[in-house]
């Protein structure tokens, strides 16, 4: 039973004015700037860029400020902006092997060409609240490498590939045109290009939970973190009128290649399989989760039974987008009183009939008892 949700324009205006006021917070405290968000909440900016599918730190930082730190709201702002941008072409495939490495680790090898580079990471910190940060202090100057020359860092997958130990994409598969799920609706069954696109913009928490479920036995795929790397990669664009590629700039990326359960057939010798994760900015949790879910979703390709949620592409891909999910869940806030009225009408009728039947039953029983 609803009292009609009316209010109209004035109420909406007032609500938004109040929200803007609350966003500003205590006016005796300095207002936060997008620069500060970009520099000091950089991982939030990375997440908003990744799931917003738009590489623009400045815009993502502003969106975080506008959204009062609600990252899904910020992602939504970025997406809605992205959709209005003209599309003038697609870049050349990125060469992550040529990444300017900020961090690169492999859990599958003790040491490897190029070495293990920890880079900026929370790993191995003790999670103790640092009260010094509250007061603010200049951090010590970062340590520097002895030689300015970064060694070459081949991807771990290509090291394994030299021996033929890991499956690689078939060459015909890599030359096929890549789909674009922002320009064509996703249809099922979906091929791996579209699945990876979907996962790359999917919600971090959702992918994390699905990835975790594969580790707990719901679609287990025996993963090793073959390699996780983070750094800057150059983006190149084929300029048709020039006839050669031109660099557009660099993007920071986290890439994860999982080495998974091997398989072989009568024709093919046993090989490791793999799962792949790639996200904008530094977000290892998401990249690793994506790689685990990617591998789980390849069940069909490898002839594995599809039993677990993480292996079910309709389930995984249809629910990964947090902008869609939050919109539909939160639309329950909208008035539904017309539908509710029709349910009320029906339930009152059913109850009336129920009591009539019961009364009739009672009367019959009494008559029988009297006889």
């Amino acid at each position: 039973m609803y009292v009609a949700v009316k209010g109209g324009e004035q109420a909406i205006d007032n609500a938004h004015r109040l929200m803007a006021h609350r966003r500003r917070g205590d006016s005796s405290v300095a207002e936060i700037t997008p620069d500060q968000v970009d520099g000091q909440l950089a991982l939030a900016v990375d997440r908003v860029m990744g799931e917003g599918s738009l590489y623009d730190r400045e815009l993502a930082a502003l969106a975080i400020k506008q959204a009062r730190g609600d990252l899904i709201e910020a992602i939504f702002l970025v997406r809605a902006y992205r959709t209005t941008l003209p599309r003038f072409g697609y870049s050349e495939p990125l060469d992550t092997g040529a990444m300017a490495i900020a961090r690169r680790i492999s859990a599958a090898f003790k040491d490897l060409p190029g070495g293990q580079i920890l880079g900026p990471t929370f790993d191995y910190t003790h999670r103790l609240i640092d009260f010094v940060l509250a007061a603010g202090s200049e951090p010590p100057v970062p340590a520097e490498a002895h030689s300015a020359q970064m060694p070459k860092m081949p991807r771990v997958a290509s090291l394994l590939d030299e021996e033929g130990l890991i499956e690689r994409p078939e060459s015909e598969e890599s030359s096929k045109p890549v789909g674009d799920l922002t320009r064509d609706p996703l249809t099922f069954p979906a091929e791996r290009d579209l699945r990876l696109q979907n996962l790359a913009r999917g919600d971090e928490g959702y992918l994390l939970a699905l990835a975790y479920s594969t580790q707990r036995g719901y679609g287990r795929n025996h993963p090793f973190a073959g390699e996780i790397r983070f750094g800057d990669v150059e983006v190149e664009f084929m300029a048709e009128e020039l006839g050669f590629t031109v660099p557009l700039g660099t993007v920071a990326l986290t890439e994860c290649e999982m080495v998974n359960q091997f398989r072989g057939t009568a024709e093919a010798p046993p090989q490791f399989t793999s799962g792949y994760g790639l996200v904008l900015g530094q977000c290892e949790r998401k990249a690793m989760s994506m790689a685990l879910v990617d591998r789980a979703l390849r069940a069909r390709e490898f002839g594995e039974d599809v039993r677990a949620p993480a292996q079910d592409e309709e389930f995984v891909l249809s629910h990964s987008d947090n902008v869609q999910a939050t919109g539909f869940v939160e639309h329950l806030k909208l008035p539904h009183y017309v539908d509710f009225q029709s349910e009320l009408g029906l339930i009152r009728q059913l109850r009336r009939e129920h009591f009539e039947r019961a009364a009739q039953g009672d009367a019959e029983q009494r008559r029988e008892a009297a006889e």
Binding site: A4, G8, P86, P185, T326, H331, H336, D339, S342
Partner: protein, 325 residues
Amino acid sequence: MSAVGPTSAKGAAPPHPAAPRPPSPDGRRTGGADGYNFAYLDEQTKRMIRRAILKAIAIPGYQVPFASREMPMPYGWGTGGVQITASILGPDDILKVIDQGSDDTTNAVSIRRFFEKTAGIATTTRTREATIIQTRHRIPEEPLADDQVLVYQVPTPEPLRFLEPRETETRKMHALEEYGLMHVKLYEDIARHGHIATTYDYPVKVDGRYLTAPSPTPKFDNPKMHMSPALQLFGAGREKRIYAIAPFTRVVSLDFEDHPFEVNRFERPCALCGADNVYLDEVVLDNSGGRMFVCSDTDFCQERRAAGHAGEMLARAPSFVAGQR
């Protein structure tokens, strides 16, 4: 209907003088309606959506996949309807937006404002004046005419979705016209409750072929879809589907011979305008069970009152129900 199709004068709306958005990085940051194309969407996107609409009209009731865009309002809040309206809107159109039958529910206000801002078009609350009516959950009581388009906001376009969650399966069922599952569902309702227990989003068969979801309108409105002179367009943004019912198309609500389709009935007329055979909202007046039943279609109710009709509570109804007198 002249607004549909890239060849018609209205459909091929000239770009807004300020369009397309300025390419300079500074200009785009400032945003605002001035930076956007007429009715927000760029012309290429509108063309893509119009193609989907034309296909939908050609195959009434069939769900056409389309490359739904992210809109500046949330999914589930009318993005499908907004994209359709944006694509068929011309500068001379007059738009009405309703939610729950009412023009002044918050989301209807928000969508109406969106088009006032991005398209600068005229809006109205009068059903008769509107050339395009975007709606959520109701069909206006006033019969529509052949120069009007009704645009529905659709959350779940697939009528079989809650019986079969997989898109691959439901598409197959539509292809084979295999709708037994829905009849079984309705039969089970009768076996369990003595009635078909679906009161809104009640499935219909369009032009004798496709099982179609009317969107969550109460089943009271289903008969209005049948042979309607107005074009009916349905947009589901999150689910990326568009479907249509062409004017004067047969729309039949599913039923059984011994359990024929029935609309919701109300025991009394509207307490404000005295109208019979309209859909009513129940309004709670106090904590002691006092309530009144009033037209859900606020425009219909106001027009009747303006024409001198009065319901039994018109004189003493609180102003939040009856409005200014």
